[in-house]
């Protein structure tokens, strides 16, 4: 299994506070990974760095077979290179319809003038319908995203993520605020996605992580504390100390 993303030795400091401390991390091209860690462990900052929102003070982020340096690219370039991100809070464009949201996310040319001349082809609409089916929002396509229930918004966002056809999905707490039924469906979507691409899930909920049934990385104070199966890491004394306090 080839490596898709390789992060090595990155550090970030905010006003003297070390949010990420010499962190290294790797993920293969079709792999599911869960990242857990207490508050302030640097999970969100880690995602910020990979997606280009935050520049690290040192370290390297290497992407893909051609070993591209992600640190030299802008957010939108990274997104076009195949990194998709789902935020903690559902962020969909509430003022626009579900269809418009998905069309916007659909993998297509992104330059302003191409978009200006864009016409919805039957093929694109077909792709959107298949996606909507997958995330259970087919009936909601003409509705405004703002009218959806919280869980539906989460799915819409996952749907938008999938529409981008990324090679790496960064998912921040996808199950927050979902009912058990919805969680199950979310798990299914993610597991399905991980068959063809890399998926990194940041999650607090151990039950949800267990259901994902994947390798787990534990972050603490900006660096990797432990890595391995969930059972392996939860047996680790250091991890127990960090989570339960000393």
């Amino acid at each position: 299994m080839s490596t898709l993303l390789e992060v090595s030795g990155i550090s970030v400091t905010f006003d003297g506070f070390r949010a990420i401390n010499n962190l290294s991390f790797q993920i293969g091209s079709a792999e599911m990974r869960a990242i857990i860690g207490p508050n302030g462990a640097g999970k969100t900052t880690f995602m910020d760095i990979v997606t280009g929102k935050t520049r690290p003070d040192e370290g390297r982020v290497i992407w893909g077979e051609k070993s591209v340096n992600l640190l030299k690219m802008s957010e939108s370039q990274i997104a076009r290179a195949g990194v998709g991100r789902k935020f903690q809070r559902p962020t969909v464009f509430e003022d626009q319809t579900v269809l418009e949201n998905l069309i916007m996310a659909l993998k297509n040319r992104r330059r302003p003038f191409s978009v200006l001349g864009y016409r919805r082809s039957a093929e694109d609409v077909g792709r959107v319908e298949v996606l909507a089916e997958e995330i259970g929002l087919k009936a909601e396509l003409p509705r405004k995203a703002g009218e959806l229930a919280h869980g539906q918004k989460q799915w819409l966002e996952i749907g938008m993520l999938l529409a981008q056809e990324p090679r790496l999905l960064l998912v921040d707490e996808p199950a927050a605020g979902m009912s058990p039924m919805e969680r199950e469906q979310t798990t299914a979507i993610l597991v399905e996605a991980a068959k063809t691409r890399a998926v990194v899930v940041v999650e607090h909920d151990m039950e949800f992580v267990r259901r994902l049934n994947c390798k787990v990385t534990v972050l603490h104070e900006g660096s990797v504390l432990a890595e391995g199966s969930l059972d392996h890491v939860t047996a680790n004394q250091e991890v127990i100390d960090v989570y339960l306090g000393r």
């Binding site: 929102k53 939108s76 003022d95 916007m104 330059r111």
Partner: protein, 410 residues
Amino acid sequence: MQRSFFMRNPSVLIFIGLLALFTLLVTVFSEAFGVGVISTSLVKTLGKTLCLCLIAIAMDLVWGYCGILSLGHFAFFGLGGYMIGMWLMYERTKAIVVSSLAEAPLPPTADEIRDGIGTQIFGVVGGAEIPPIWFFADSLFAQLVLVVTIPGLLALIFGWLAFRSRVTGVYLSILTQAMTLALALYLFQNDSGLRGNNGLSGLQNLPGLDDVPQATISIWFLWASAFALGLGYLVAAWVVGGKFGSVVRGIRDDEARVRFLGYHVESYKLVVFTLTAIIAAIAGALYYPQAGIINPAEIAPIASIYLAVWVAIGGRGRLYGAVIGAAFVSLVSTWFTGGQAPDIPLGFYTIQWVDWWLVLLGLSFVLVTLLAPQGIGGLFDLFTNRKTPERGGADLGPDAGSLQEKEAEQ
């Protein structure tokens, strides 16, 4: 799934229809082509109002749709006016100089004509040389090209600098205001090459058309303004109607999210900013020949803020709202400041609207912002029963400044 453009945007057809009707009515009642009920000066006022509606559409595109509160679009409007004004003034002065030199014993040389024009135009600022920026002033075509390219280029450079450094929100507004101020101050100088605070004048006279009465010319400009407004509305509706509009509105509501979808937000802002600058410039190029004079005071920051006021009162985020706001506020303003509004005697004090109109405008603007953020355009929702989304949460977008729950419930 994809319906036709007009099916998706019924307001475009309605708007163009109403505009055509309006133009027809004014023509029929005008002095030049009809019964003469509407005076030439009123025709000019109406023509100018149409131009203001056009720049309001530009403002709505950039602010209402893209979320950039530009306090500088009157700079582009003014530049457009200056570009066409240069041709009008140069050619007309040339005609005057040539006819006066025709009496001379020797036929004038090209240099003598040029010197004559220079003295005529720049004598008022103590110069006689024609500055290099007037190089193309003798060519209508070149100046028409400049009407579009100069403001477009300024917008492109300024926008590129501003958006590239991710200046947003209030900062960006202040920066655009600074740009306008800088331009106005520059033009106020006598050696700016554009006659300092005298500005360009006599623009209502078309070179070579001295025999055509102003009544006729005013109707021509009314037609041109109406055509430009209709076309501008169509272009704007087309731009915001499709996927591009989707992205642009996305940028307004959550810039970062659009970026993570892989769109280069800065390019989109730049396209919208430049496009609207060009629309504003065209509006200006049509406005100032009707006004007859342009000077740097027209570009002062306050003008651009009024533009924001029009769009806000009319209702931003919908094109017809911008048009209504611009037309309503500028016409009412003309009425009040023209001394036509009746004074209100309070016994101890008489409210003269010439003095108190600005106070009324300022306060009503505050009230609109506070109580009716949808503006006048919001009234149309009552008829069309436009459904407002039922929102459960608090703020509707993650960015400060995006649509809020309260606002959405209006």
